[in-house]
């Protein structure tokens, strides 16, 4: 039995943790949250220079070829630090989509730039509030041009390239679009978590190219989402763990009724439940990592379980962290709200738990997977 990360990857995790503690304290997150900058450009440049952006991209396309287990380890630390950079959009979504569905030419054109951090990518699915049903999308792809609106697009205001999901002539299709084209209009939108920027993008007949075979968009999107779900889950586990630690630390130092509030069972039991949810999410994420790294047939089920478990754990940890902090937790000054915002943001980033639970049960129905 060897169901854990290798010593090398644990060492990488330790390095990442140290680096982010120093370079990405909550003041950095707040700077993006409160200021005009859409992301922390200096941090992004350093992360890219250390090779994190290229961690799972093969060496032939300019990556570090560290594999997806390495990326999982980094994701956990980025989630723990709430790193205000377009890492998830560019790497979990765009780079994965191009790796999964792209032609050799597309991979050569974009993966090296994404690996080096020189270009930022994203995936554009949603078209306003409500379920983004790929068969009912209003954005169309016809004769090499893309038309329609996408809202919200994570990092859509800063990205250089987007993979847009659209209606093609033969059904749903993934379209790769260069966002610098004049027929692309974009504006930042306000969201619950301004430490991660989002945009409203309008395509007015923008030149685009198909990513993957026509009519195969739905299947490809699912594959990309399954892969991204595992990586997001690690970010969420990192955020849940950090929220739990904040609550624990505060419960030890805050006194009420003559004793630390952490000595009251009402607080102890609450935090024990958060711990249990976080450990379950971690174990589900580990299984997702195993399936992702091997490209195993179990990936859709493992990814759905990791996603549902991580959504639950991070939001629980973040909301109870505020609760344990009492009134102070509701102030702008304390960091609790940064985690609360991010928890809800990430739980919607790839579709809600409602959708992923349905996907999970569909897997059990069809695959007859062993429990």
């Amino acid at each position: 039995m060897n169901f854990d990360f290798s010593d090398d990857l644990k060492e990488l995790r330790e390095q990442a943790r140290k680096f982010l503690r120093e370079r990405c304290p909550s003041s950095s997150v707040r700077k993006v949250l409160e200021g005009p900058e859409p992301y922390d450009k200096a941090l992004w440049a350093e992360i890219a220079a250390m090779g994190w952006t290229g961690a799972a991209i093969p060496e032939e396309y300019g990556g570090a070829g560290l594999g997806h287990l390495g990326l999982c380890v980094l994701a956990e630390e980025l989630g723990s630090a709430l790193a205000p950079v377009p890492f998830s959009s560019s790497i979990y979504l765009a780079a994965e989509a191009i790796s999964v569905a792209g032609s050799e030419a597309q991979k050569k054109a974009w993966l090296p730039k994404l690996a080096s951090g020189e270009a930022i990518g994203t995936l554009a699915v949603a078209e306003g509030p409500g379920k983004a049903d790929v068969r009912k999308l209003r954005t169309t792809f016809r004769n090499g041009t893309l038309s329609g609106e996408k809202l919200p697009v994570p990092d859509g205001d800063v990205a250089h390239v987007a993979i847009a999901v659209a209606q093609g002539e033969r059904g749903p299709i993934l379209a790769l679009v260069d966002l610098s084209a004049p027929d692309v209009k974009r504006a930042a939108v306000e969201t619950i978590d301004p430490s991660r920027s989002h945009a409203h993008i309008t395509f007015e007949g923008a030149p685009a190219e198909p990513l993957g075979p026509a009519g195969d968009g739905e299947r490809l999107l699912r594959r990309v989402q399954d892969r991204a779900a595992v990586l997001f889950a690690f970010e969420q586990v990192g955020g849940a763990q950090r929220s739990l630690e904040m609550a624990r630390d505060y419960a030890l130092e805050r006194y009420a009724f003559g004793r630390p509030i952490g000595s009251f069972q009402a607080i102890k039991h609450k935090l024990a439940d958060v711990y249990v949810a976080t450990e379950l999410a971690r174990s589900n994420a580990y299984y997702g990592a195993w399936a992702l790294a091997r490209n195993a047939p179990e990936l859709p089920l493992a990814a759905a379980a990791a996603r549902v478990s991580a959504n639950e754990a991070f939001f629980l940890a973040a909301k109870e962290n505020i609760q344990v902090h009492g009134g102070m937790g509701y102030t702008w000054e304390f960091d609790c709200h940064l985690y609360y915002r991010r928890a809800k943001l990430l739980s919607l980033a790839l579709g809600s738990s409602r959708l992923w639970k349905d996907r999970l049960i569909t897997q059990l129905e069809t695959a007859n997977a062993p429990l």
Binding site: M1, N2, F3, D4, F5, S6, L69, L244, R248, A251, L252, R259, P260, G262, S263, Q265, I267, K268, H269, L271, A272, D273, Y275, V276, E279, L280, A281, R282, S283, N284, Y286, Y287, A289, W290, A293, A304, A305, V308, S309, E312, R354, W356, K357, D358, L360, I361, L364, E365, L371
Partner: protein, 413 residues
Amino acid sequence: MDFDDTPEEAEFRKGARAFLDKTARRREPGEAGVYRGGLEKPEVRAAAKAFQAKKAEAGYAAITWAKEWGGRGGSAIEQVIYNQEESKYAIPRGMFDIGLGMCIPTLCTWGTQAQRDRFAKPALRGEEVWCQLFSEPAAGSDLAGLRTRAEKDGDDWIVNGQKIWTSGAHYCDWGVLVTRTDFSAPKHKGLTYFFLDMKSPGIEIKPIRQISGASHFNEVFFENVRIPDSQRLGAVGEGWKVSLTTLMNERYTIGGRTGTLVDVDDVLELARKVELEDGPALKNEAVRDKLADWFVMSQGLKYSHFRTMTALSRGQTPGPESSIGKLVTGPKLQAMAAFAMDLMEQGGVITDPELAPMAALFQQTLMTSPSSRIAGGSDEIMRNIIAERVLGLPADVRVDKDVPFNKLPTGKR
């Protein structure tokens, strides 16, 4: 990252399988292997003893024990591997776990060499069965509140009082017992620990009828029961310390057993069969939502267990993730049973296995699941343990810690 055995582990597993194939029958698909199931029947106990003798002979009865105690001197991962393999066979399980998991390790830690020589091997071979006499009607989660009295009389002690929740007391040969020997000392300081012959005069055993209708536990009454002082483990007044040896082993014994009566796949199977107003229950969104929650818990526990095994396989101490199983499983069992019965609407009340779906599995589980949230550390105690030992939160304020035991309030007056 993989789920494979190391070459040494694979070799060990092969050996364990060969032994089991030779000695036992593989369970049929769907054949339940209920922990401690059927032990009320003498023929099941006889079969359990016969298997245990062969298991000891082959060196699998106490894999992690030191060789000087009659063990194999093996590793924790080997014990886990053996348990995994054994659980696939139709073997009456659970009869010796309390003795070998808790009583004998305590005796070997605190007793004399002569006592180890006398008791360890017969227990390993299943010739002598042990029980644990700890809990009392007024001392459950608060074990140190126990009041069974032991008084010195020459070279003997005379015991009076009552124990409860003793599994298998009526067929056990020996027991470990915690008593109070000093009522004027604070509660943790007046205890003394013994082992005794369960056939001693003055012991009366009465089965307790559980809410499920079954009787797996007993009340044990002591009336002037004599125990030689040579059967005392640890010093007089040090019984709490000795008890902790037993209790630390309890967590391993209980946490180590795998397989529950019902899991999410059973509810899934039911949901395939049941028709709701809008079609099969499995197509109903509320049903899918619940099933997904339980699946995620089951999978999370499964892979937490694999993380624990990985630590053991690497010769490391498992992390705190190994402590969550009981707290997740108990409430989940109860919730699944109740929800499955909801799917049957009014017919869900029927317990006749001929009439109720899946031979009344869920109705039975509804009635047995409360005990999984209480036995071996209640949900509340498990949360305290996680909060204190894993998260490092302060222990409860103890108003009774330094007060003489006979000055403590014992109820509403």
